[in-house]
Symmetry: C2
Subunit: 350 residues, 2 copies
């Protein structure tokens, strides 16, 4: 099995910089669409063989150094008693949003093998398929991001209901976050037990918060999740999207690898975080629509910012766009592999 990804998570020297892409198993790939045309999104998530099949596609087709489980961050919600639907073109809709203490009290905490057995089965299939290939990453939403869906009833532009709950009913907020965190810990531990060799915690929407609110309302819970996974021996990637201004406090929450979005320079962000943590990122996802020469220039820039320090995993700064040309994704992966083998001086000369 290719070891570069796991080595970089542990900040060990690697022969080249490993690369994988958020949402790499997805709609930009014709092979994915061929399966998607026959099944609903939830069907694909809940059928281990299908989830495994699309998880494997980018490993062979674009040559990434890690596979990430195909799943949705909202899958654990059903076991909690949250009624979830993927409405066409509207994204997830939750029919019983949580707004009160009574609503929070009703939330169930199941064992993950009971709530999402199909996820664990997909992982077991994948580990068999990936022998001699690449490591498998599991994942979960972070407490804030899952709570935000549960409270808002879906996506939101403003997160007004979340923020009102924080400000007006902090006790209710914290009790919801505690329950969500417990579900996440069990979910990720089960993924690790099933075979996930690293896990990523996605805080997709936490970038809507001011630093003081993150500290008061999110930090204790995200930290509890990270601490709850210590002892599993598996690297944890902590990605707080659109939250580069929150990096120091995100770091306090924990994680072996901190994910970076594309709105910050990687060198400045790593310096702020400290070099005793690995980083992942951070190409502008829409750079994959640029001509190959532009993609290569941007890859070199990020690699030269990483400066061959051990502990850099190359990724996009956000999920891959559904209309991305597959050939450009290959250009990216090859450029990362090629230029990260180049001496730093040559990389910077170009």
């Amino acid at each position: 099995m290719k070891q570069e990804f796991l080595k970089a998570c542990r900040r060990e020297e690697t022969d080249y910089t490993p690369v994988w892409l958020m949402r790499q198993a997805g709609r930009y790939m014709p092979e994915y669409m061929a399966i998607r045309s026959k099944h609903s999104f939830l069907e694909m998530c809940k059928t281990p063989e299908l989830a495994a099949e699309v998880t494997l596609q980018p490993v062979d087709i674009v040559g990434v150094d890690a596979a990430i489980l195909f799943a949705d961050i909202l899958l654990p919600l059903e076991g909690m008693g949250i009624s979830l639907e993927f409405a066409k073109d509207e994204g997830p809709v939750i029919h019983n949003p949580v707004r009160s203490k009574q609503d929070v009290d009703k939330i169930r905490i199941l064992e993950a093998e009971e709530g999402t057995p199909y996820v664990m089965e997909a992982i077991r299939i994948l580990r068999r398929e990936l022998v001699n290939k690449v490591p498998l990453i599991g994942f979960s939403g972070a407490p804030f991001t899952l709570a935000s869906y549960i409270i808002e009833g879906g996506g939101s532009k403003t997160y007004l209901n979340c923020k009102r709950m924080m400000y007006e009913a902090p006790g209710v907020w914290h009790s919801l976050m505690e329950k969500v965190s417990e579900v996440i810990i069990r979910y990720l531990k089960a993924q690790i037990a099933a075979g996930a060799q690293a896990v990523q915690v996605f805080d997709s929407w936490v970038g809507c918060l001011a630093p003081d609110d993150y500290r008061e309302f999110v930090l204790p819970h995200s930290r509890r999740v990270m601490e709850g996974l210590q002892g599993t021996g598996v690297p944890i990637i902590h990605f707080a999207n659109n939250a580069s201004t929150l990096l120091p406090v995100v770091r306090e929450a924990g994680g072996d690898v901190i994910g970076l979005d594309w709105r910050t320079d990687l060198d400045a962000a790593w310096a702020r975080l400290g070099y005793d943590v690995a980083v992942q990122g951070n190409l502008e996802p829409l750079a994959l629509f640029a001509p190959p020469a532009v993609i290569e220039k941007k890859v070199k820039r990020i690699l030269s910012q990483a400066a061959k320090r051990p502990g850099h995993i190359f990724n996009l700064g956000h999920g891959i766009h559904k209309d991305t040309p597959v050939e450009n994704v290959r250009v990216l992966v090859e450029a990362v592999h090629k230029y990260s083998r180049m001496p730093l001086e040559e990389l910077r000369e170009d």
Copy 2:
């Protein structure tokens, strides 16, 4: 006339911290809605007496220290030959988006008194009405933000068309930005000639860019706008929304005051910018839904971060939300006025 706002723009000592709020003339106010119920949004913008009337409302009703012209950042587009419509619930729609060199060549550059005479007339009315009250702020969209509407044909989640033009056709991009910048310079100079005592340049959507792309595709044009206004003697506020990670390069573009969104701590941001520039911000807009005690606590926190350094204008980190309770806006304004008169040690003790 109350001088605190203009003094703070020039980093002079003030008796208290001046405060105004982005989108302070707006839907949260019943007096605004009474007028809005009788006229379309564009009608209000294009009728100088109505624009002036709603501009004045928050000065008396919530007691802010500056008025900001009621207008829309897209008004200059019509004179450029861009066909603009405000579709109900959908926001602005542009029927002839600009995607090619030919499209850019067709764009006209008019004098602002010809393209938007109603804006200048509203400013002249307002200066008469505001004698002995507060200063008047004019404004414009920044080059990137106006270009993004023109290219995308409206708002966008990803700005894919903008980014494709940058990467694939940088010459077309720069020629569009040059034309847009020229329109903005004329528009703001005309506002200043009509009586605007300060101007804010809103780069509402530039936060979607990576720092290297901002530097290559935006900085030269935003800088040209700022330089084009030098010699007017009027302070320029430069607000790049959701762009706290871009602050150093935004600062390079220029502005006497740099606007801060709420995703960063004011003290950290000001230290990064340097104390030879004034700052404006940066309360989380949805904190106005919190109980008064929470609002006051957050106001004190921001004031204590500003540390009584000359050159702080209090504002939200983004426009006020339409459902904000007016009484809480008053709580905010009073808290800023009250606590900014308090010695720093007492402010921090609380």
